[in-house]
Symmetry: C2
Subunit: 494 residues, 2 copies
């Protein structure tokens, strides 16, 4: 497929010299406008000609104002990266709104690894799928994604290297690795072509750039960036149409996942103490085993206000060594966090190998409070179910244990707890008028929880709806579920 780009495109020196100053000026101006825009720009530079890719990255940094470009070249995974889900480092490298990142190195690296057999077909396909999904997520979030594949026929590359080697002022950058890279090109290219075809999408197509002539290459890439950036600055992104209300409609009064929960479940104090000790002991042993095996755990806690999340989480962390877990309390996103895709901050908090991260409220806020309060547009929260499923599946693929809990109480129980909190001085700060206002939206939440549980329960990352009118019961039931799930994950890993 790459041969189609071999048409002999060239720009002569005079034309190049004439075009560059205006191009630089336009690029820099577009960059300045970008700084106040509400989107970010990701530029992928890939190619079968790695010398050209290297030059291109340097050229873009030279032509634009390098202070507003983050360049990230992806090399071998570090051990911190290897312990996280596949695309963790990509998520960590995303630019915030108003900024631009250049990514290089990752795609051809994956193709080469696949050609060498360092990764198998299953891993490669999963990676391709996640790349495509991430790209969709970014594009629908308004990010401008520009992808360039720099193609130079192998013969021409050989010729270039040989000619350069003869010239002492030009040849110093050539070494054994450049030749070695060229040797491997044959077996690698088919995989590169698969990457191109499987990650090309309407909002983020690949631009294949003939790179035999460096001047043509530079100007073509620069022009494409300039045109895309200018167009996007002039026209705001389209959020995409929301689906019909009926798809996510209100099943008023009908049975739902919460209506079937038996809230009368309870434990007496003695049974509670015995069972709590039993499951904490079990979790303690499993956590040590998980750490030794490098198997990480992500626990996601959602539930009604005052459902007892804090108390449940504390019973979980009591069973863990202080160094083995982190509790991430999730509040409204900060100004910095709002400059990224809403999943960005959760990607950032993925646990290191063998550790626990416990989210006190989670990414599900997108389809709960953000949906109900209108903080997210319908098109945004509607696509979130799929985005979340992809996010969680990439954790599970890495061998992680992922479990999600909805702590369920009745409206009457909630009211009683609000009042009790107001009578306890050090708990008063937990209660605000907003908590009372939220009670009026109880039915909206029942509907949203129902759809959330149905749309994001997967074999590998399931929801546990925990009856929590009895705190004792809820704590033991949660610990029981965690020990069971973690044990299963550990056995499967053997």
């Amino acid at each position: 497929m790459l041969e189609v780009a071999e048409v002999g495109n060239k720009v002569d020196k005079a034309a190049y010299k004439a075009a560059v100053p205006q191009m630089r000026l336009d690029l820099v101006n577009a960059q300045y406008d970008l700084r106040n825009a509400d989107f970010s720009v990701v530029i992928w530079i890939a190619g079968d000609d790695h010398v050209a890719a290297n030059d291109m990255v340097n050229r873009l940094n030279e032509w634009m104002d390098a202070r507003f470009i983050d360049t990230r070249v992806f090399a071998e995974l570090t051990d911190e990266e290897a312990a996280r889900p596949q695309l963790w480092r990509l998520w960590r490298s995303l630019p915030p709104k108003g900024r631009m990142s250049i990514f290089a190195g990752g795609l051809m690296r994956a193709a080469t690894m696949r050609a060498n057999g360092d990764i198998d077909e299953a891993d490669f396909s999963r990676w391709l799928r996640h790349i495509a999904t991430m790209q969709d997520q970014l594009v629908s979030d308004g990010t401008v994604v520009l992808k360039f594949f720099l193609h130079t026929p192998e013969k021409k590359q050989r010729k270039k290297l040989k000619a350069a080697e003869k010239d002492p002022e030009q040849g110093w950058w050539i070494d054994q690795r450049d030749w070695a890279q060229l040797e491997k090109l044959g077996p690698t290219l088919p995989f590169a072509e698969r990457i191109l075809s499987e990650t090309s999408a309407p909002g983020a197509p690949w631009t294949i750039v003939e790179s035999t002539n460096a001047r043509y290459r530079d100007l073509t890439v620069a022009r494409t960036i300039l045109a895309a950036l200018t167009a996007r600055l002039e026209q705001p992104a389209n959020q995409g149409p929301a689906l019909a209300d009926s798809v996510f409609g209100d099943f008023d009064g009908q049975a739902n996942v919460l209506s079937g929960v038996d809230l009368s479940k309870d434990l007496d104090k003695e049974t509670y103490r015995r069972e709590l000790a039993k499951y904490q002991a079990k979790l303690h042993r499993l956590a040590i085993e998980a750490r030794d095996k490098g198997i990480s755990t992500v626990l996601a806690f959602e539930g009604w206000d005052a459902a007892g999340k804090g108390g449940v989480i504390r019973r979980v962390t009591q069973a863990l060594e202080a160094g083995d877990y982190r509790v991430v309390p999730v509040a409204a996103p900060t100004e910095e966090e709002r400059k990224y895709h809403y999943l960005w901050r959760f990607w950032r908090d993925m646990p290191p190998g063998g550790r626990f991260v416990i989210f006190d409220r989670t990414w599900y806020g997108r389809v709960l409070v953000e949906r109900i309060e209108g903080f997210a547009q319908p098109a945004e929260w509607q696509r979130a179910y799929d985005e979340i499923n992809d996010f969680e599946s990439s954790m599970v693929e890495r061998g992680m244990y992922v479990a999600k809990f909805w702590l369920h109480i009745s409206p009457e129980e909630q009211l009683a707890r609000f009042q009790a909190r107001e009578d306890t001085p050090y708990k008063q700060h937990k209660i605000t008028d907003e908590d009372y206002r939220n009670r009026e939206k109880w039915d909206d939440y029942v509907n949203a929880v129902d759809q959330m549980v149905l749309r994001t329960t997967t074999d590998s990352a399931r929801w546990h709806v925990i009856p929590a009118n009895s705190k004792y019961y809820a704590r033991v039931a949660t610990l029981k579920a965690i020990t069971k799930g973690l044990e299963r994950t550990l056995r499967r890993a053997q």
Copy 2:
């Protein structure tokens, strides 16, 4: 020395139950006030009783609002951490202003490693010195640093473990490792005591807490935190007195490091092209060797406006593979960055193993623009020289190559370049009125540069003052200095 704390302190159950609710309320209120304060809080929990330390960390998270506490327990170094200077992960874990972090695990870990011989005396002393220096830096920056050493006599610890093991509801958290830890206590304690004495400082003393009785321990630590936090909230930090002007005075008209620079140095075009190719080729080879050996490089560029830093940096990066370097342009700190010690953002950007980071403007802004414009208080910039020397020495100790460049031009040359920039469309954005205003402060800068070079030139991280009226000369001279310095660092590492 720890025996002095063995006095049999106890709090009985009733007194504890009576005290806790008010304590929790006061702590939570203090936390809320902290959120709007302009300082951060670092709480170190260390101790010879690691079970107690673990409980204490959990207790603090339980008593306070865990959403506003970041807990960081330091375990084995990851490979990303091992490639950076010793205290890198500590710097990365610091809380911003208005927040609180709990650190645990690091100190006893270091003592144990020293006792086991995993680190030698030289490394241990260096680590102690850096800890003490970092602490000084934080304290003088306004951070509240609270350090607790939880002490339980070994015999008492044994008794506690044995008693707990007999109780099925209590004993589940005990395992082989707890006993193993206790076995190693004897040889470890002397090193722990050294940490205590060498890192105790007026602004950040150690509080040794007898921990045989958990209730006494909990209340003592909580009370100490509450008192310190309350006092600090009521009374702003004292910046400390500035030194007499004469110490940093203006040596008006006297000879200085810049007055001796021969600005007439030049290269003709042909020599330039030959030499440039020669040193770029050399740098290219050395960089590959540095990557293979995991030796990182930090290049710091300072200089007059329009001195040609960008052009010099580009000639350096042309010699490097795109994945082996990152250029960090340093502008005024962002809102987020201002919430930390001024060195924090530079610690964040330390290169991964074997890579280059090139700073376009640097931490020396503290003693240049921030001094001259009054953005930093006299006490702040005056102590910065020592802070910077410690920062750079911790890089050099890790085997890194560190070099600093001041690109020097004459005021006449600067003016000519400003005017030329205004005539080049894509360079116009580089010139602002501020650039012209800065020219009026030329003599202040000459004085500040003089003191900077004299006070921060060390054997291992030296300043290169580069005559830069000729761009050709400056580029070649810089490349020459880098290749020479990097080569020396590589040979020394063999």
